[in-house]
Amino acid sequence: MPNLVSDADLAAIWVTNPDRVMFGDDGPTKLDLVLYYARIGNWMLPELINRPVTLVRCPTGKLADTFYQRHANEGMVENVLQIDIPSNKAEEREDYLYIKDAKGLFALSQFGVIEFHPWGCRVDKPERPDRLILDLDPDEGLEWRDVVDAAHQIRAELLELGLAAFVRTTGGKGLHLVVPVERRTGWAKFKDFAQAFVEALAKREPRRYTASVAKSARRGKIFIDYIRNVRGATAVGSYSLRARPGAPAATPLDWNELSSVEDPRDFDYQTVPLRMASLAADPWRGMNDSTQRITNDMAQKLRIHK
Protein backbone atom coordinates (compact mmCIF):
# COMPACT_ATOMS: atom_id res chain seq x y z
CA MET A 1 0.00 0.00 0.00
CA PRO A 2 1.24 3.52 -0.70
CA ASN A 3 3.05 5.35 2.03
CA LEU A 4 0.98 8.41 2.87
CA VAL A 5 2.78 9.38 6.06
CA SER A 6 6.32 10.73 6.06
CA ASP A 7 8.73 11.61 8.85
CA ALA A 8 8.39 15.23 7.80
CA ASP A 9 4.61 15.06 8.30
CA LEU A 10 5.15 13.84 11.85
CA ALA A 11 8.00 16.20 12.67
CA ALA A 12 5.90 19.17 11.56
CA ILE A 13 3.40 18.63 14.39
CA TRP A 14 3.92 19.91 17.90
CA VAL A 15 1.45 18.46 20.36
CA THR A 16 0.30 20.97 22.93
CA ASN A 17 -1.08 19.83 26.29
CA PRO A 18 0.04 16.24 25.64
CA ASP A 19 -0.85 15.13 29.18
CA ARG A 20 -4.44 16.38 29.11
CA VAL A 21 -6.71 13.54 30.16
CA MET A 22 -9.55 13.06 27.72
CA PHE A 23 -13.09 11.92 28.45
CA GLY A 24 -12.85 11.59 32.22
CA ASP A 25 -10.73 9.62 34.68
CA ASP A 26 -8.64 6.75 33.29
CA GLY A 27 -9.18 8.17 29.82
CA PRO A 28 -6.43 8.44 27.24
CA THR A 29 -4.26 11.54 27.16
CA LYS A 30 -4.41 13.94 24.29
CA LEU A 31 -1.01 12.62 23.17
CA ASP A 32 -2.43 9.07 23.08
CA LEU A 33 -5.09 10.22 20.62
CA VAL A 34 -2.71 12.18 18.41
CA LEU A 35 -0.34 9.19 18.42
CA TYR A 36 -3.24 6.96 17.40
CA TYR A 37 -3.78 9.03 14.27
CA ALA A 38 -0.03 9.07 13.60
CA ARG A 39 -0.01 5.27 13.68
CA ILE A 40 -3.24 4.71 11.80
CA GLY A 41 -2.88 7.52 9.27
CA ASN A 42 -1.66 5.30 6.47
CA TRP A 43 -4.78 3.13 6.77
CA MET A 44 -7.18 5.95 7.37
CA LEU A 45 -6.18 8.54 4.81
CA PRO A 46 -7.36 6.83 1.60
CA GLU A 47 -11.01 6.99 2.72
CA LEU A 48 -10.67 10.45 4.27
CA ILE A 49 -8.67 12.72 2.00
CA ASN A 50 -10.32 14.93 -0.58
CA ARG A 51 -13.75 14.48 0.95
CA PRO A 52 -15.66 17.25 2.69
CA VAL A 53 -15.47 16.36 6.36
CA THR A 54 -17.38 17.28 9.48
CA LEU A 55 -15.22 17.34 12.57
CA VAL A 56 -16.06 16.52 16.16
CA ARG A 57 -13.80 18.46 18.45
CA CYS A 58 -13.18 18.17 22.14
CA PRO A 59 -10.45 20.72 22.82
CA THR A 60 -10.83 20.66 26.60
CA GLY A 61 -11.02 16.89 26.99
CA LYS A 62 -14.39 17.15 28.73
CA LEU A 63 -17.12 15.22 26.98
CA ALA A 64 -19.56 18.02 27.72
CA ASP A 65 -17.45 20.35 25.61
CA THR A 66 -17.64 18.20 22.48
CA PHE A 67 -18.97 19.93 19.38
CA TYR A 68 -19.42 19.47 15.65
CA GLN A 69 -17.64 21.71 13.19
CA ARG A 70 -18.40 21.83 9.47
CA HIS A 71 -16.81 25.11 8.54
CA ALA A 72 -13.52 26.79 9.20
CA ASN A 73 -13.27 29.05 12.21
CA GLU A 74 -10.75 31.67 13.11
CA GLY A 75 -7.44 30.04 13.75
CA MET A 76 -8.21 26.92 11.73
CA VAL A 77 -4.99 25.01 11.34
CA GLU A 78 -2.68 24.80 8.39
CA ASN A 79 -3.09 22.12 5.74
CA VAL A 80 -6.84 22.10 6.08
CA LEU A 81 -8.47 23.20 2.86
CA GLN A 82 -11.90 24.47 2.04
CA ILE A 83 -14.31 23.73 -0.73
CA ASP A 84 -17.19 25.90 -1.74
CA ILE A 85 -20.22 23.64 -2.14
CA PRO A 86 -23.72 25.04 -2.56
CA SER A 87 -25.55 24.48 0.68
CA ASN A 88 -28.82 22.59 0.74
CA LYS A 89 -30.49 25.75 1.92
CA ALA A 90 -31.60 28.12 -0.80
CA GLU A 91 -28.80 29.56 -2.87
CA GLU A 92 -26.18 30.09 -0.20
CA ARG A 93 -22.80 28.53 -0.71
CA GLU A 94 -20.70 27.30 2.11
CA ASP A 95 -17.08 26.47 2.51
CA TYR A 96 -16.67 22.95 3.77
CA LEU A 97 -13.46 21.57 5.16
CA TYR A 98 -11.34 18.83 3.72
CA ILE A 99 -7.79 17.61 3.99
CA LYS A 100 -5.59 16.23 1.30
CA ASP A 101 -2.76 14.60 3.21
CA ALA A 102 -1.30 13.35 6.47
CA LYS A 103 -0.29 16.85 7.51
CA GLY A 104 -3.94 17.88 7.54
CA LEU A 105 -4.93 14.83 9.59
CA PHE A 106 -2.23 15.35 12.21
CA ALA A 107 -2.77 19.08 12.40
CA LEU A 108 -6.46 18.49 13.08
CA SER A 109 -5.87 15.86 15.74
CA GLN A 110 -3.46 18.24 17.46
CA PHE A 111 -6.23 20.86 17.10
CA GLY A 112 -8.50 18.77 19.32
CA VAL A 113 -10.41 16.92 16.61
CA ILE A 114 -11.48 13.49 17.83
CA GLU A 115 -13.94 12.34 15.16
CA PHE A 116 -13.83 12.61 11.38
CA HIS A 117 -17.12 12.31 9.51
CA PRO A 118 -16.50 12.47 5.77
CA TRP A 119 -19.17 12.97 3.15
CA GLY A 120 -19.90 10.16 0.70
CA CYS A 121 -18.37 12.16 -2.13
CA ARG A 122 -15.09 13.70 -3.14
CA VAL A 123 -14.31 17.38 -3.59
CA ASP A 124 -13.63 17.21 -7.33
CA LYS A 125 -17.21 16.01 -8.00
CA PRO A 126 -19.25 16.81 -4.92
CA GLU A 127 -22.56 16.18 -6.69
CA ARG A 128 -21.63 12.57 -7.51
CA PRO A 129 -21.56 10.40 -4.37
CA ASP A 130 -19.43 7.25 -4.31
CA ARG A 131 -20.01 5.72 -0.87
CA LEU A 132 -23.47 4.45 -0.02
CA ILE A 133 -23.81 3.89 3.71
CA LEU A 134 -26.40 1.89 5.60
CA ASP A 135 -26.15 2.55 9.30
CA LEU A 136 -27.49 -0.30 11.41
CA ASP A 137 -28.68 1.26 14.63
CA PRO A 138 -30.09 -1.30 17.07
CA ASP A 139 -32.70 -0.49 19.68
CA GLU A 140 -31.38 -0.64 23.22
CA GLY A 141 -32.70 -4.08 24.07
CA LEU A 142 -30.95 -5.79 21.17
CA GLU A 143 -27.77 -7.81 21.39
CA TRP A 144 -24.60 -7.25 19.42
CA ARG A 145 -25.23 -10.70 17.88
CA ASP A 146 -28.49 -9.44 16.40
CA VAL A 147 -26.65 -6.61 14.68
CA VAL A 148 -24.00 -8.96 13.32
CA ASP A 149 -26.68 -11.31 11.94
CA ALA A 150 -28.49 -8.38 10.36
CA ALA A 151 -25.29 -7.15 8.73
CA HIS A 152 -24.72 -10.56 7.16
CA GLN A 153 -28.27 -10.67 5.88
CA ILE A 154 -28.19 -7.17 4.43
CA ARG A 155 -24.87 -7.92 2.81
CA ALA A 156 -26.48 -10.90 1.10
CA GLU A 157 -29.45 -8.78 -0.01
CA LEU A 158 -27.13 -6.22 -1.55
CA LEU A 159 -25.10 -8.93 -3.26
CA GLU A 160 -28.27 -10.26 -4.79
CA LEU A 161 -28.78 -6.85 -6.37
CA GLY A 162 -25.22 -6.95 -7.59
CA LEU A 163 -23.60 -4.74 -4.97
CA ALA A 164 -20.68 -5.76 -2.77
CA ALA A 165 -20.69 -4.11 0.64
CA PHE A 166 -17.95 -3.57 3.20
CA VAL A 167 -18.51 -3.55 6.95
CA ARG A 168 -17.17 -1.48 9.79
CA THR A 169 -17.88 -0.98 13.45
CA THR A 170 -18.98 2.48 14.51
CA GLY A 171 -17.48 2.68 17.97
CA GLY A 172 -20.90 1.93 19.44
CA LYS A 173 -23.25 -1.01 19.14
CA GLY A 174 -24.09 -0.35 15.49
CA LEU A 175 -22.46 -1.30 12.23
CA HIS A 176 -22.02 0.45 8.92
CA LEU A 177 -22.37 -1.28 5.59
CA VAL A 178 -20.46 0.74 3.03
CA VAL A 179 -21.13 0.22 -0.67
CA PRO A 180 -18.59 1.80 -3.02
CA VAL A 181 -20.13 2.88 -6.31
CA GLU A 182 -18.89 4.65 -9.38
CA ARG A 183 -19.70 8.33 -9.50
CA ARG A 184 -22.58 8.26 -11.95
CA THR A 185 -25.75 9.16 -10.07
CA GLY A 186 -26.59 12.41 -8.32
CA TRP A 187 -27.56 12.63 -4.64
CA ALA A 188 -31.31 12.47 -5.21
CA LYS A 189 -31.24 9.16 -7.08
CA PHE A 190 -28.57 7.86 -4.72
CA LYS A 191 -30.71 8.52 -1.66
CA ASP A 192 -33.87 7.24 -3.37
CA PHE A 193 -32.12 3.97 -4.05
CA ALA A 194 -30.95 3.62 -0.44
CA GLN A 195 -34.42 4.46 0.83
CA ALA A 196 -36.15 2.02 -1.51
CA PHE A 197 -33.72 -0.72 -0.51
CA VAL A 198 -34.25 -0.18 3.22
CA GLU A 199 -38.00 0.23 2.95
CA ALA A 200 -38.32 -2.96 0.92
CA LEU A 201 -36.30 -4.79 3.56
CA ALA A 202 -38.32 -3.35 6.44
CA LYS A 203 -41.53 -4.31 4.65
CA ARG A 204 -40.44 -7.89 4.25
CA GLU A 205 -39.15 -8.21 7.80
CA PRO A 206 -41.12 -5.67 9.81
CA ARG A 207 -40.33 -7.35 13.14
CA ARG A 208 -36.64 -7.10 12.61
CA TYR A 209 -36.04 -3.84 10.74
CA THR A 210 -37.49 -0.38 10.49
CA ALA A 211 -36.81 2.46 8.09
CA SER A 212 -38.41 4.98 10.42
CA VAL A 213 -36.46 7.42 12.54
CA ALA A 214 -39.30 7.57 15.08
CA LYS A 215 -38.22 6.07 18.40
CA SER A 216 -41.60 4.40 18.87
CA ALA A 217 -41.22 2.52 15.58
CA ARG A 218 -37.80 1.24 16.59
CA ARG A 219 -38.70 -0.75 19.68
CA GLY A 220 -36.96 -4.10 19.56
CA LYS A 221 -35.80 -3.50 15.99
CA ILE A 222 -32.79 -2.39 14.05
CA PHE A 223 -33.22 1.00 12.47
CA ILE A 224 -31.48 0.98 9.10
CA ASP A 225 -30.56 4.60 8.59
CA TYR A 226 -30.52 5.42 4.87
CA ILE A 227 -30.59 9.18 5.57
CA ARG A 228 -26.80 9.08 5.68
CA ASN A 229 -27.07 9.17 1.90
CA VAL A 230 -28.77 12.53 1.73
CA ARG A 231 -26.61 15.26 0.27
CA GLY A 232 -24.72 16.97 3.10
CA ALA A 233 -25.17 14.09 5.55
CA THR A 234 -22.15 12.41 7.02
CA ALA A 235 -21.26 9.23 8.87
CA VAL A 236 -18.30 8.55 11.08
CA GLY A 237 -15.34 7.58 8.89
CA SER A 238 -13.18 4.49 8.95
CA TYR A 239 -10.60 4.48 11.76
CA SER A 240 -12.07 7.61 13.31
CA LEU A 241 -12.00 7.54 17.08
CA ARG A 242 -15.19 8.41 18.94
CA ALA A 243 -15.42 11.08 21.61
CA ARG A 244 -16.66 8.64 24.25
CA PRO A 245 -15.19 7.00 27.32
CA GLY A 246 -12.54 4.52 26.23
CA ALA A 247 -12.09 6.26 22.85
CA PRO A 248 -13.40 3.42 20.66
CA ALA A 249 -12.63 3.48 16.94
CA ALA A 250 -14.84 2.95 13.90
CA THR A 251 -13.03 -0.09 12.52
CA PRO A 252 -13.22 -1.64 9.04
CA LEU A 253 -13.50 -5.42 9.24
CA ASP A 254 -13.18 -8.30 6.87
CA TRP A 255 -16.56 -10.06 6.64
CA ASN A 256 -14.83 -13.21 7.95
CA GLU A 257 -13.84 -11.43 11.12
CA LEU A 258 -17.24 -10.02 11.95
CA SER A 259 -18.70 -13.07 13.69
CA SER A 260 -15.70 -13.44 15.97
CA VAL A 261 -16.00 -9.93 17.35
CA GLU A 262 -17.40 -10.11 20.86
CA ASP A 263 -17.74 -6.45 21.63
CA PRO A 264 -17.18 -3.72 19.04
CA ARG A 265 -15.97 -1.40 21.76
CA ASP A 266 -12.86 -3.56 22.06
CA PHE A 267 -11.64 -1.72 18.99
CA ASP A 268 -10.20 1.42 20.47
CA TYR A 269 -7.27 3.81 20.36
CA GLN A 270 -4.98 1.18 21.87
CA THR A 271 -6.05 -2.02 20.15
CA VAL A 272 -6.62 -0.83 16.59
CA PRO A 273 -2.99 0.18 15.83
CA LEU A 274 -1.94 -3.22 17.22
CA ARG A 275 -4.52 -4.97 15.11
CA MET A 276 -3.41 -3.20 11.96
CA ALA A 277 0.23 -4.03 12.67
CA SER A 278 -0.60 -7.70 12.83
CA LEU A 279 -2.97 -7.87 9.86
CA ALA A 280 -1.70 -9.49 6.70
CA ALA A 281 -3.97 -7.51 4.42
CA ASP A 282 -6.28 -4.51 4.35
CA PRO A 283 -9.68 -5.70 5.63
CA TRP A 284 -11.25 -3.50 2.95
CA ARG A 285 -9.00 -4.56 0.11
CA GLY A 286 -10.69 -4.00 -3.22
CA MET A 287 -12.68 -1.04 -1.95
CA ASN A 288 -11.00 1.38 -4.28
CA ASP A 289 -10.98 -0.88 -7.32
CA SER A 290 -14.71 -1.35 -7.19
CA THR A 291 -16.49 -0.57 -10.45
CA GLN A 292 -20.03 -1.32 -9.37
CA ARG A 293 -22.78 1.16 -9.93
CA ILE A 294 -26.41 1.69 -9.08
CA THR A 295 -28.40 0.75 -12.16
CA ASN A 296 -31.98 1.33 -13.24
CA ASP A 297 -32.29 -2.40 -13.22
CA MET A 298 -31.62 -2.52 -9.47
CA ALA A 299 -34.09 0.24 -8.78
CA GLN A 300 -36.64 -1.67 -10.84
CA LYS A 301 -36.13 -4.81 -8.75
CA LEU A 302 -36.69 -2.87 -5.55
CA ARG A 303 -39.95 -1.41 -6.81
CA ILE A 304 -41.19 -4.90 -7.59
CA HIS A 305 -40.41 -5.97 -4.03
CA LYS A 306 -42.54 -3.13 -2.78
Binding site: W14, T16, P18, V34, L35, F267, R275
Partner: protein, 296 residues
Amino acid sequence: MAPRATWKGYLKLSLVSCPVRLHNATTTVNRISFNWLHKDTHNRVQMKPSDPELGQVERSELVKGYEFEKDQYIVVGDEDLEKIQIESTETITIEEFVDADDVDPIFLDSPYFLAPDGPVADETFRVIHKAMGGKNKAALGRVVLSGRERRVIITLRGNGLMLTTLRVAAEVRRHEEYFSDITDGDLDDEALKLAELIISQNEGAWDSSEFEDQYQKELLEIVMAKIKGTKPVITKAPERGKVINLMDALKQSIDDGGLKKPPAKSKRRKAAPAKKSAAAKTSTKASEKKAATKAA
Protein backbone atom coordinates in the same frame (compact mmCIF):
# COMPACT_ATOMS: atom_id res chain seq x y z
CA MET B 1 -14.82 55.37 37.06
CA ALA B 2 -13.36 57.63 34.40
CA PRO B 3 -10.72 56.24 32.02
CA ARG B 4 -7.07 57.14 32.52
CA ALA B 5 -6.31 60.78 31.85
CA THR B 6 -3.59 61.90 29.44
CA TRP B 7 -2.93 64.98 31.51
CA LYS B 8 -3.90 66.24 34.96
CA GLY B 9 -3.64 69.76 36.34
CA TYR B 10 -5.60 72.91 37.04
CA LEU B 11 -7.85 75.07 34.95
CA LYS B 12 -7.01 78.60 36.08
CA LEU B 13 -9.32 81.54 35.57
CA SER B 14 -8.00 84.61 37.32
CA LEU B 15 -7.92 83.68 40.99
CA VAL B 16 -10.15 80.65 40.61
CA SER B 17 -8.54 77.29 39.87
CA CYS B 18 -10.19 73.94 39.40
CA PRO B 19 -8.55 70.47 39.26
CA VAL B 20 -9.15 68.99 35.81
CA ARG B 21 -8.06 66.13 33.63
CA LEU B 22 -7.65 65.81 29.85
CA HIS B 23 -8.56 62.82 27.74
CA ASN B 24 -7.90 62.35 24.04
CA ALA B 25 -11.23 62.91 22.33
CA THR B 26 -10.36 60.93 19.22
CA THR B 27 -8.84 57.53 18.65
CA THR B 28 -7.24 55.63 15.81
CA VAL B 29 -7.36 52.21 17.47
CA ASN B 30 -10.09 51.12 15.07
CA ARG B 31 -7.85 51.72 12.11
CA ILE B 32 -6.20 48.67 10.61
CA SER B 33 -2.46 48.90 10.54
CA PHE B 34 -0.07 46.50 8.92
CA ASN B 35 3.28 45.03 9.77
CA TRP B 36 5.89 44.26 7.17
CA LEU B 37 6.69 40.58 6.58
CA HIS B 38 9.08 38.98 4.18
CA LYS B 39 7.12 37.58 1.22
CA ASP B 40 8.55 34.04 1.46
CA THR B 41 9.41 33.47 5.09
CA HIS B 42 6.50 35.52 6.47
CA ASN B 43 8.82 36.60 9.23
CA ARG B 44 8.30 40.04 10.58
CA VAL B 45 11.25 42.02 9.16
CA GLN B 46 13.34 44.17 11.42
CA MET B 47 13.78 47.76 10.39
CA LYS B 48 17.33 48.32 11.59
CA PRO B 49 19.06 51.61 10.87
CA SER B 50 22.04 51.24 8.60
CA ASP B 51 25.06 53.49 8.09
CA PRO B 52 26.68 53.50 4.60
CA GLU B 53 30.15 53.00 6.15
CA LEU B 54 29.45 51.09 9.35
CA GLY B 55 26.57 48.91 8.19
CA GLN B 56 23.95 48.09 10.76
CA VAL B 57 23.98 50.43 13.77
CA GLU B 58 22.01 50.74 16.98
CA ARG B 59 19.24 53.22 17.45
CA SER B 60 21.02 54.53 20.55
CA GLU B 61 23.90 55.67 18.32
CA LEU B 62 21.71 58.03 16.30
CA VAL B 63 21.64 61.82 16.77
CA LYS B 64 19.41 64.43 15.20
CA GLY B 65 20.72 66.60 12.37
CA TYR B 66 19.25 69.69 10.75
CA GLU B 67 19.97 70.11 7.04
CA PHE B 68 20.56 73.86 6.70
CA GLU B 69 22.07 73.56 3.19
CA LYS B 70 22.19 70.64 0.79
CA ASP B 71 24.23 67.90 2.53
CA GLN B 72 25.19 70.30 5.31
CA TYR B 73 23.94 69.29 8.71
CA ILE B 74 24.14 70.80 12.11
CA VAL B 75 23.77 68.34 14.98
CA VAL B 76 21.16 69.21 17.54
CA GLY B 77 21.66 67.18 20.69
CA ASP B 78 19.22 66.29 23.41
CA GLU B 79 20.94 68.80 25.69
CA ASP B 80 20.06 71.57 23.22
CA LEU B 81 16.47 70.44 23.07
CA GLU B 82 16.26 70.23 26.85
CA LYS B 83 17.16 73.92 27.08
CA ILE B 84 14.02 74.93 25.26
CA GLN B 85 11.77 72.38 26.90
CA ILE B 86 9.26 74.22 28.97
CA GLU B 87 8.60 72.93 32.40
CA SER B 88 5.03 71.88 32.81
CA THR B 89 3.19 74.30 35.03
CA GLU B 90 0.35 71.86 35.35
CA THR B 91 -1.96 74.72 34.63
CA ILE B 92 -4.29 75.65 31.83
CA THR B 93 -4.29 79.41 32.00
CA ILE B 94 -7.31 81.12 30.53
CA GLU B 95 -6.28 84.46 29.02
CA GLU B 96 -9.41 85.78 27.36
CA PHE B 97 -12.85 84.85 26.15
CA VAL B 98 -13.90 85.21 22.54
CA ASP B 99 -17.28 84.75 20.89
CA ALA B 100 -17.70 81.03 20.27
CA ASP B 101 -18.98 81.77 16.76
CA ASP B 102 -15.74 83.60 15.88
CA VAL B 103 -13.54 80.55 16.35
CA ASP B 104 -11.91 79.79 13.01
CA PRO B 105 -12.09 76.00 12.51
CA ILE B 106 -8.96 75.97 10.34
CA PHE B 107 -6.88 76.55 13.48
CA LEU B 108 -8.33 73.59 15.37
CA ASP B 109 -5.79 70.82 15.85
CA SER B 110 -6.31 67.99 18.38
CA PRO B 111 -9.40 67.78 20.57
CA TYR B 112 -9.39 66.67 24.20
CA PHE B 113 -12.18 66.26 26.70
CA LEU B 114 -11.69 68.47 29.73
CA ALA B 115 -13.35 67.10 32.88
CA PRO B 116 -13.33 68.02 36.57
CA ASP B 117 -10.88 65.90 38.56
CA GLY B 118 -12.58 64.74 41.70
CA PRO B 119 -15.71 65.82 43.59
CA VAL B 120 -14.06 68.94 45.02
CA ALA B 121 -13.71 70.32 41.48
CA ASP B 122 -17.32 69.74 40.59
CA GLU B 123 -18.90 73.01 41.60
CA THR B 124 -16.17 75.34 40.27
CA PHE B 125 -16.18 73.44 37.00
CA ARG B 126 -19.94 73.75 36.65
CA VAL B 127 -19.83 77.44 37.43
CA ILE B 128 -17.29 78.06 34.66
CA HIS B 129 -19.30 75.84 32.31
CA LYS B 130 -22.56 77.66 32.99
CA ALA B 131 -21.09 81.13 32.75
CA MET B 132 -19.42 80.35 29.41
CA GLY B 133 -22.64 78.88 28.02
CA GLY B 134 -24.72 81.84 29.10
CA LYS B 135 -22.47 84.26 27.24
CA ASN B 136 -21.77 81.84 24.32
CA LYS B 137 -18.06 82.29 24.86
CA ALA B 138 -14.99 80.18 24.10
CA ALA B 139 -11.90 80.50 26.31
CA LEU B 140 -8.45 81.06 24.81
CA GLY B 141 -5.61 79.81 26.94
CA ARG B 142 -2.22 78.15 27.16
CA VAL B 143 -1.04 74.81 28.45
CA VAL B 144 2.22 72.87 28.32
CA LEU B 145 1.76 69.48 26.67
CA SER B 146 4.76 67.17 26.06
CA GLY B 147 7.26 69.93 26.78
CA ARG B 148 5.71 72.37 24.34
CA GLU B 149 3.52 75.31 25.16
CA ARG B 150 0.34 75.15 23.16
CA ARG B 151 -2.38 77.71 22.53
CA VAL B 152 -5.72 76.08 23.23
CA ILE B 153 -9.36 76.95 22.96
CA ILE B 154 -11.94 75.66 25.40
CA THR B 155 -15.54 75.23 24.35
CA LEU B 156 -18.64 73.59 25.80
CA ARG B 157 -19.14 69.92 25.15
CA GLY B 158 -22.26 68.40 26.71
CA ASN B 159 -22.06 68.96 30.44
CA GLY B 160 -18.26 69.08 30.19
CA LEU B 161 -15.72 71.06 28.23
CA MET B 162 -13.62 70.43 25.18
CA LEU B 163 -10.07 71.67 24.89
CA THR B 164 -8.64 71.89 21.38
CA THR B 165 -5.02 72.66 20.69
CA LEU B 166 -4.61 75.39 18.10
CA ARG B 167 -2.29 75.59 15.14
CA VAL B 168 0.02 78.57 15.06
CA ALA B 169 -0.49 81.20 12.38
CA ALA B 170 2.62 80.05 10.45
CA GLU B 171 1.10 76.58 9.97
CA VAL B 172 -2.10 77.84 8.42
CA ARG B 173 -2.15 78.96 4.80
CA ARG B 174 -4.09 82.03 3.76
CA HIS B 175 -7.02 81.24 1.48
CA GLU B 176 -6.92 84.50 -0.53
CA GLU B 177 -4.32 83.35 -3.06
CA TYR B 178 -6.28 80.21 -3.81
CA PHE B 179 -9.54 82.08 -4.45
CA SER B 180 -8.13 85.11 -6.28
CA ASP B 181 -9.56 84.03 -9.66
CA ILE B 182 -13.14 84.06 -8.44
CA THR B 183 -14.97 87.11 -9.89
CA ASP B 184 -17.71 89.12 -8.18
CA GLY B 185 -20.04 90.20 -11.06
CA ASP B 186 -23.86 89.96 -11.04
CA LEU B 187 -25.50 86.52 -10.94
CA ASP B 188 -28.53 85.27 -12.79
CA ASP B 189 -31.50 85.42 -10.38
CA GLU B 190 -33.17 82.33 -11.83
CA ALA B 191 -30.06 80.21 -11.38
CA LEU B 192 -29.61 81.43 -7.83
CA LYS B 193 -33.24 80.70 -6.94
CA LEU B 194 -32.88 77.21 -8.39
CA ALA B 195 -29.72 76.56 -6.40
CA GLU B 196 -31.42 77.78 -3.23
CA LEU B 197 -34.39 75.57 -3.93
CA ILE B 198 -32.16 72.55 -4.38
CA ILE B 199 -30.41 73.32 -1.12
CA SER B 200 -33.64 73.64 0.82
CA GLN B 201 -34.91 70.40 -0.66
CA ASN B 202 -31.80 68.56 0.46
CA GLU B 203 -31.64 69.78 4.00
CA GLY B 204 -30.86 67.18 6.62
CA ALA B 205 -29.93 66.94 10.26
CA TRP B 206 -26.29 66.55 11.25
CA ASP B 207 -25.76 62.86 12.02
CA SER B 208 -22.15 61.89 12.58
CA SER B 209 -23.10 58.25 13.14
CA GLU B 210 -23.30 57.98 9.37
CA PHE B 211 -19.68 58.98 8.93
CA GLU B 212 -17.67 55.91 8.24
CA ASP B 213 -14.44 55.16 6.54
CA GLN B 214 -15.49 52.93 3.65
CA TYR B 215 -11.90 52.03 2.90
CA GLN B 216 -11.22 50.88 6.48
CA LYS B 217 -14.52 48.99 6.49
CA GLU B 218 -13.70 47.08 3.34
CA LEU B 219 -10.16 46.49 4.49
CA LEU B 220 -11.47 45.01 7.71
CA GLU B 221 -13.80 42.72 5.75
CA ILE B 222 -10.90 41.45 3.67
CA VAL B 223 -8.79 40.85 6.75
CA MET B 224 -11.61 39.09 8.63
CA ALA B 225 -12.39 36.87 5.64
CA LYS B 226 -8.75 35.89 5.44
CA ILE B 227 -8.56 35.13 9.13
CA LYS B 228 -11.75 33.09 8.93
CA GLY B 229 -10.97 31.30 5.71
CA THR B 230 -7.39 30.35 6.04
CA LYS B 231 -5.38 30.28 9.15
CA PRO B 232 -3.35 33.37 9.89
CA VAL B 233 -0.09 33.24 7.97
CA ILE B 234 1.96 33.46 11.11
CA THR B 235 2.17 30.38 13.23
CA LYS B 236 3.86 31.48 16.35
CA ALA B 237 5.41 28.50 18.06
CA PRO B 238 3.17 27.59 20.98
CA GLU B 239 4.62 29.15 24.07
CA ARG B 240 2.60 27.97 27.01
CA GLY B 241 2.73 24.62 28.67
CA LYS B 242 4.34 21.41 27.63
CA VAL B 243 4.72 20.73 23.93
CA ILE B 244 5.93 17.53 22.30
CA ASN B 245 6.98 16.94 18.74
CA LEU B 246 4.83 14.20 17.25
CA MET B 247 7.72 12.35 15.63
CA ASP B 248 9.72 12.41 18.86
CA ALA B 249 6.68 11.22 20.77
CA LEU B 250 6.12 8.36 18.33
CA LYS B 251 9.76 7.25 18.52
CA GLN B 252 9.68 7.57 22.28
CA SER B 253 6.55 5.45 22.54
CA ILE B 254 8.18 2.72 20.47
CA ASP B 255 11.31 2.79 22.63
CA ASP B 256 9.10 2.51 25.69
CA GLY B 257 7.30 -0.43 24.15
CA GLY B 258 4.45 1.96 23.48
CA LEU B 259 2.34 -0.45 21.48
CA LYS B 260 1.93 -2.74 24.42
CA LYS B 261 -1.14 -4.80 24.74
CA PRO B 262 -3.52 -2.68 26.74
CA PRO B 263 -4.25 -3.77 30.31
CA ALA B 264 -7.09 -6.23 30.70
CA LYS B 265 -10.41 -4.54 30.18
CA SER B 266 -13.21 -4.55 32.70
CA LYS B 267 -15.58 -7.53 32.97
CA ARG B 268 -17.62 -6.07 30.14
CA ARG B 269 -14.74 -6.62 27.79
CA LYS B 270 -13.63 -10.18 27.32
CA ALA B 271 -10.75 -10.16 24.93
CA ALA B 272 -9.26 -7.64 22.62
CA PRO B 273 -10.12 -8.60 19.05
CA ALA B 274 -6.50 -8.22 18.11
CA LYS B 275 -5.73 -11.43 19.97
CA LYS B 276 -8.02 -13.34 17.70
CA SER B 277 -6.46 -12.29 14.45
CA ALA B 278 -4.46 -14.86 12.57
CA ALA B 279 -1.20 -13.03 13.02
CA ALA B 280 -1.52 -12.76 16.78
CA LYS B 281 1.43 -15.11 17.14
CA THR B 282 3.70 -12.27 16.12
CA SER B 283 5.52 -11.03 19.17
CA THR B 284 4.54 -7.71 20.63
CA LYS B 285 7.94 -6.30 19.81
CA ALA B 286 7.65 -7.25 16.20
CA SER B 287 4.21 -5.69 15.94
CA GLU B 288 5.56 -2.48 17.30
CA LYS B 289 8.27 -2.32 14.72
CA LYS B 290 5.82 -3.06 11.97
CA ALA B 291 3.38 -0.46 13.23
CA ALA B 292 6.13 2.05 13.41
CA THR B 293 7.25 1.39 9.86
CA LYS B 294 3.71 1.73 8.66
CA ALA B 295 3.02 4.88 10.55
CA ALA B 296 6.31 6.42 9.62
